[in-house]
Symmetry: C2
Subunit: 81 residues, 2 copies
Amino acid sequence: MRATVLVRPKEGILDPQGDAVGSSLRQLGFAVDEARVGRVVDLEVEGSDPAEAREQIERMCRHLLANPLIESYEISLEGHE
Amino acid sequence: MRATVLVRPKEGILDPQGDAVGSSLRQLGFAVDEARVGRVVDLEVEGSDPAEAREQIERMCRHLLANPLIESYEISLEGHE
């Protein structure tokens, strides 16, 4: 089963990479007020039960994919929005 | 206008970060066949015309946000899917 996880810096958390992207875009002439940069992780997980897969991926997020102190995550399962 | 850009390594392109994530997940006991890692960029852009905003963001992708040789990108505008 394919899944996509979006990991983003939480609101209020400093994001130097996003700041750098935003200022570079403005230097190039683009009208950008803010940019925030996170990670997208595409996973191919075993099993066919969407509830179980989501629960596994929640655990992956808490243990490895995200730092829950400073990052939020959003899980979507292909075909099971 | 808020927009989200997903930048991913193209199919067939080596992704050492994804390989590392996949093997770490397997070491932790998760049943993961593959992991690919890219970036998510959330943008707040000026203007209210969705077609124009999308065109601007396409240009940002080609010039700064993605390396079109090895990365693909996907743009979504909030409220204009």
